[in-house]
Amino acid sequence: MAQATHRRGLGFYLLAGFFALFVIFLYGPMLVIFILSFQGPTGGLTFPLRGVSTHWFGDLWTSTRYGDLGGAFRRSMILGAMSLLITAVVCLFAGLAFRKRFIGAGPLFYLAITSLVVPGILLGLGISQLFQLLGFRLNWWLSGLGAHLSWTLPFGLLIMFAVLNRFDSSWEEAARDAGATPSQTLRYVTVPILFPGLIAVALFGFTLSYDEMPRSLLTVGGKNTLPIEISNMTTNVTTPALYAIGTVTSVISFAVIAAAFACIALIQKRRARAKRGA
């Protein structure tokens, strides 16, 4: 690019400084609660640190003050895993379908977009009232899962559109031309080529579900998910245990993101290694 020949002016450094401030703004507070979650047993919600300990992490396990955190965590993980699987599979096929014209494509797309922009709690209200009207009990693994899917599927669909933008449908035609059946085409060509993109869709499926709160609130029935438990804690827990649970759940989120990126990187590396003719 011709730009590369210009020297970096004052503008660059001003903008770089602004960007750095923004990144600090984005990550700084989180960093502070990670540090504060290691408060000593007598420490409070703010600095200074009174010793360094893992007391509050232990407190999460042992104390009964924080409700059913273990159960909430387990439910959130199961919901996340189910959302991951359903989002990846449903969005893959829906994305493939949207490449062709079909009746109802427009309304369905707008319904998905509506689901993104409507306040989550309102959709939760609708789902919970619908279940009650039909005489079904609210359950985290049914109404709760449905509420999560109303959030993860539209996102997954949009990612899938972006992924399919770079997918050449003549690959599928070439497979058919070589005599492949539709299921062979899917297994040997479509899915392998789309795989890195599918990991991204799955990542969205998991993390959006794992962190979802407003839609879950009215739909999970008697058993809470982790974000609901944490949001309850914000109003009635005044110890660093709040930060400890924050650290734990953020570490899990980051681990999932890292695992997803590592998967994508691994696939690309494997393809690159094949390139070198190893």
Binding site: E173, R176, D177, A178, G179, A180, I193, A274, K275
Partner: protein, 371 residues
């Protein structure tokens, strides 16, 4: 072999909504021949090719390969193999696995199919790259892989969708030679879609010129070039000037035609025309001579608007008062002996044998449409 790979297309139409992409086409392609389909974008040539391959189903009509009706048989089971314009090599598979793909879906075991694939890669001189991915290959190499992948199915008919369009000029000429050699070697039918005239002329046994979903002319390259069916074919294939005039008199098959500017022309063969009819005829650009004075017949007068040196000849464009430029290909010695400058008025003439009556009525400009 040759009968097994003969293609009969009868009454084939393809509708996209109300648009007739292919309009009631009849065509016979002899087994073992090299057929080039040519025409501007949107003329229906690719649709016709894809219907032969089975990627599109005809709205009506019948397609037979080797005498067997394949109109509704499955893609990949009709003895055709398609080479895609962008090659469509699977980006996640090595060259070997790309070439072995059709054997894999037929359930052949890994080792034997890879061995066959490597053999095929050897045939296109790429065995040394067998474990690479397509993205690491040059355009020309990718094309040879696509060829290998198509040929491993032992097709009766190889279909090529603008196979050379993604290559640079140098590679294009080299691959052109290679395609022709391959076709001779295999003895199967090649159907090659292109929009480049020299490619069609150089490769084909049979050239099929299409426009608006119709076949304008299907004949040998020499026939197409020397005896174009319509003004459209003459203009599209190039090398011809198209003139229009009124038939003044006939004698036998020969006719005398007067153009709007009053020049008289002899057409040695124009069967079926009647005096007074408006007809068009073509004149080979390389059969025209320059005269110092206006000729009595078979010539015209015009103002030079452009001259272009082409190496072995000079292209001189005349404005003759019609909307169409009149082009003369002058041998370079003749031009350098007496250079002509833009703005000069010159007189041109030709033997009656260089004139050819255009029977067809398609008078469109024939310049390839831009995509």
């Amino acid at each position: 072999m040759s009968d097994a790979s003969r293609i009969d297309i009868s009454g084939v139409t393809k509708l996209y909504g109300p648009v007739k992409a292919v309009n009631n086409v009849d065509l016979v392609i002899e087994g073992g021949s090299y057929c080039c389909m040519i025409g501007p974008s949107g003329c229906g040539k690719t649709t016709l090719l894809r219907m032969i391959a089975g990627h599109e189903a005809p709205s009506s009509g019948r397609i037979a390969i080797g005498g067997q009706d394949v109109t509704h048989s499955r893609t990949g089971s009709r003895g055709t193999a398609l080479m895609f314009q962008n090659y469509a090599l699977f980006p996640h598979l090595s060259l070997t696995d790309n070439v072995a793909f059709s054997l894999r879906v037929k359930g052949e075991a890994t080792e034997p199919r890879r061995a066959k694939a490597r053999e095929m890669l050897d045939r296109v001189q790429l065995s040394h790259l067998a474990d690479r991915l397509p993205s690491e290959l040059s355009g020309g190499q990718q094309q040879r892989v696509a060829l290998a992948r198509a040929l491993i199915t032992n097709p009766k008919v190889l279909l090529l969708d603008e196979p050379l369009s993604a290559l640079d000029e140098f590679l294009r000429l080299r691959m052109r030679v290679e395609l022709k050699r391959l076709q001779n070697e295999l003895g199967i039918t090649f159907i090659h879609v292109t929009h480049t005239q020299p490619e069609a002329i150089a490769l084909a046994d049979q050239v099929v010129v299409m426009d608006h979903g119709l076949i304008e002319q299907a004949a040998s390259p020499r026939e197409i070039y020397n005896h174009p069916h319509s003004p459209y074919v003459a203009r599209f294939m190039g090398g011809q000037n198209v003139l229009a005039g009124k038939v003044e008199s006939i004698s036998g098959d020969a006719a005398t035609v007067t153009t709007a500017d009053g020049h008289r022309h002899d057409l040695p063969s124009a069967p079926g025309v009647t005096p007074g009819a408006e007809i068009r005829f073509s004149v080979r650009r390389d059969r025209i001579h320059i005269l110092p004075e206006a000729p009595a017949r078979n010539g015209l007068t015009g103002k030079v608007i452009n001259t272009e040196y082409q190496g072995t000849f000079v292209k001189v464009a005349l404005d003759t008062g019609t909307r169409e430029e009149f082009i003369i290909y002058m041998p370079d010695e003749a031009w350098f002996a007496r250079p002509i400058s833009v703005g000069e008025t010159i007189h041109a003439t030709w033997e009656p044998a260089a004139s050819h009556h255009l029977k067809g009525t398609n008078n469109s400009a024939g310049t390839p449409l831009e995509d």
